[in-house]
């Protein structure tokens, strides 16, 4: 009985993280109808940024990076939207492929210049920072979520928008998101190498959120790490906030309208592109927070933690029905429960196999999810 309760507590805490992660998948899918396979890479970056913020020795690096990166990004965006994109018209007489190529070359050149300038400023500024810097875990959470959100918006601009404007099919967007995921994971590998000298890093053990720390409490035979409860609480609060936002506010109403029909929403005066950006930001922010919470739970992060959770998240949203936000929540908790029980009764090596078998069977017998209605096929 104690073991049973203990397992349930672990599963619920893990399930909250899965659910947060799966929410982002579901949001993007419900509003754009595409699967963002780079979502897991954003999760991983959330874990990495959160780690940098929580590690007192590495926090100065992060703050410096933010100080240097923010103005440069703003400059970059101004240049892009004021000068480069309007200027692209001068190639109108040429073939479209050549136009695109010229635009690409110009972009690569000025982004490289900006990056080099940024690198120099970064190196020059570094000595002015203190050796160690302690950042409140709550601030670290915000850093991780904002980093995730910004990366997610970048994905929207680089990987999804060009294809949507070309009216490419959903699979093209799936492929581009796989490419983006690969890029993000590999950059993370270099970042890990640069900061930690290897592709594995450990979270500090003594993190406290609002005074609640990692010292285990024993209740009878149960051992509870208080921070896990805190993680659960944060995840649930975020879910409630999201639910409130989608159901009760005007922005949420607009999001639902766009999800229902993009064209009609646009005719009704909703700025569809703004809604897309907002959706990606929210999805990324949730993934980022899920990442740092995952890191706090397992105390270790690598550039590859996304691979596993990508498929777990997929299973969660398939269980709940693709594109259903409530479904993603239920799916996340369900997957965590199944995983925990399979470890408790079977063995850890089959943990993932059981999840995939579940995914597979679910797709075959109820592709619309546990609670979904069958999709109307429009020929």
């Amino acid at each position: 009985m104690e073991l049973f309760l203990q397992q349930n507590i672990n599963a619920i805490s893990l399930g909250a993280i899965y659910a947060l992660f799966a929410l982002g998948y579901a949001m993007v899918f419900s509003i754009l109808g595409v699967l963002n396979l780079a979502h897991s890479a954003i999760f991983m970056w959330g874990a990495f940024v959160g780690l940098l913020a929580l590690d007192p020795e590495k926090a100065p690096l992060l703050i410096n990076f933010i100080l240097v990166g923010t103005p440069l990004t703003v400059i970059g965006m101004v240049v892009e939207y004021k000068f480069i994109q309007p200027g692209m018209n001068y190639t109108r007489s040429l073939h479209l492929a050549i136009q695109r190529l010229i635009a690409l070359i110009i972009r690569v050149i000025w982004i490289t210049i900006l990056a080099l300038i940024g690198q120099q400023i970064f190196i020059q500024l570094m000595p002015y920072f203190p050796e160690t810097l302690t950042i409140l875990p709550v601030v670290a959470l915000i850093f991780a979520s904002v980093a995730g959100g910004i990366l997610s918006i970048a994905l929207e601009f680089l990987a999804f928008r060009p294809l949507r404007e070309r009216k490419a099919d959903r699979l093209a967007q799936l492929i581009s998101s796989i490419g983006a995921a690969l890029i993000l994971v590999n950059i993370a590998q270099f970042a890990f190498q640069a900061v930690y000298g290897r592709t594995e890093a450990f979270y500090p053990r003594d993190v406290t959120i609002f005074g609640i720390g990692t010292d285990p409490i024993t209740l009878g035979a149960l051992t509870i790490t208080p921070i896990r409860l805190m993680i659960l609480a944060i995840a649930i609060i975020l879910m409630i906030v999201l639910q409130f936002m989608v159901q009760r506010t005007q922005v949420g109403q607009q999001m639902r309208a766009v999800a229902f029909n993009e064209k009609i929403a646009s005719l009704l005066g909703i700025d569809v592109s703004r809604i897309y950006i907002l959706t990606f930001f929210l999805a990324g922010a949730f993934a980022g927070i899920a990442g740092i919470l995952y890191g706090m739970t397992f105390l270790v992060t690598t550039p590859f933690i996304g691979e596993n959770i990508a498929l777990i998240g997929l299973t969660a949203i398939v269980l709940g029905g693709l594109g259903s936000i409530q479904g993603a929540l239920v799916g996340g908790f369900l997957v965590a429960l199944i995983q925990t029980y399979s470890v408790a009764f079977g063995g850890s090596s089959y943990r993932d196999a059981i999840v995939f078998v579940l995914l597979f069977i679910m797709l075959l017998i109820r592709p619309q999810g546990l609670f979904g209605q069958p999709e109307q096929k429009r020929a």
């Binding site: 109108r92 492929a97 680089l158 060009p162 492929i175 796989i178 490419g179 995939f356 075959l364 592709p367």
Partner: protein, 350 residues
């Protein structure tokens, strides 16, 4: 012929393409053909790495444990992969685009995890059989076991201990005989190309194209969509298995890690870069994508980043791939006549 091949290798080695790289390129071309078949039929499946793993393991076990030759082993591997593809394909191919992609990713992962745990599963099955405490059975198995290197069964005081090492989990199979040679790969690719050219001109090939363009219309025209899709899936699985079999006999070692999701992404990148408008596209894509990191030495350590950029860049900037017959025609057409380009540009902008 051998001298000619040596001379060719000397020539390519100057740009960094040594024999192992050439092998990798040719295998990439086979894999690209394998995914091209399904993409050409409008099915986005990502199971190729899974079937490749099946092919590699089956053929390696046949040559290493049973002493078969390479060709019968690969043929057997292809048949096994095809047989596995039938029960997978029948239910899965009813799904459409994104659902199909997710399901096949799941399948490939299941194959990888099964390979990782294959020995343990067999071990526990044997243990389960022996646990019935049947004295006669244990004695019979132990006499059978006496001349086997893979299986070791020891009777302890009140239980049976089983050791089973066939696939060796994550460590992979080692000391595989190196049997694959360049000409085999080249010959196999040529056979595949001839087969595909013939296929495209056949009734079946036209049915494949019709299904890609519109499944509903195709089925209204009397095409058996389920049949065509499944046959294509099986063919694709068999080709991937052959690629796996060839690759298994190249490097003396195979491990499940080589057939994970990353491999699937690589295979997809071959087809996306090359384009799936014609059979030449994916082959060129495979050859180029494998060769480029070696030719551009600096890129080599950024291999994954490079693949990602190629995938993203190709899908955004080269939607039809490197080899695009219509695009080449359009490009030359607009270079020589200005008026046409404007029209085309306007259409695209709209």
């Amino acid at each position: 012929m051998g001298a000619l091949y040596e001379a060719f290798l000397d020539l390519t080695a100057t740009v960094g393409i040594t024999e192992p790289v050439l092998h990798g390129m040719l295998i990439a071309a086979i894999l690209a053909i394998s995914i091209y078949l399904t993409l050409y039929t409008g099915m986005f499946t990502l199971a190729n790495a899974g079937f490749m793993a099946i092919g590699a393991y089956v053929s390696v076990l046949l040559t290493q444990q049973l002493g078969w030759g390479l060709f019968p082993a690969i043929l057997a591997a292809m048949i096994v992969a095809g047989l596995i593809a039938i029960p997978i394909g029948l239910p899965v191919l009813r799904l459409s685009d994104i659902y199909l992609a997710i399901a096949t990713i799941g399948f490939a992962e299941i194959v990888r995890i099964l390979l990782l745990n294959f020995d343990n599963i067999i071990k526990s099955i044997i243990e389960g059989i022996l646990a019935s405490d049947n004295e006669a059975l244990i004695n019979r198995v132990m006499t059978f076991d006496a001349n086997s290197e893979l299986l070791e069964i020891r009777q302890l005081t009140n239980s049976v201990r089983v050791r089973f090492e066939l696939i060796e989990g994550a460590r992979g199979i080692k000391n595989i005989p190196v049997l694959t040679e360049s000409w085999m790969l080249a010959l196999f690719i040529i056979i595949l190309i001839l087969f595909l050219i013939r296929l495209h001109r056949s009734r079946f090939g036209r049915a494949m194209a019709a299904i890609r363009q519109d499944e509903t219309v195709a089925s209204n025209m009397g095409i058996n969509v389920v049949y065509v899709k499944n046959v294509v899936f099986v063919m694709s699985a068999m080709i991937a298995a052959a690629a796996g079999g060839f690759e298994g006999h190249l490097n003396r070692i195979i491990e499940p890690g080589a057939f994970g999701f990353d491999r699937n992404v690589d295979i997809l990148a071959y087809a996306v870069l090359g384009g799936t408008q014609s059979i030449i596209g994916p082959i060129v894509g495979g050859l180029v994508l494998e060769a480029l990191p070696e030719v551009l030495r600096e890129v080599k350590q950024y291999r994954g980043l490079f693949t990602g950029i190629v995938l993203l860049g190709a899908i955004v900037y080269l939607p039809n791939g490197l080899v695009d017959p219509a695009g080449v025609k359009g490009l030359f057409g607009t270079l020589f006549s200005r008026g046409k380009s404007k029209r085309e540009g306007e259409v695209d902008a709209a």
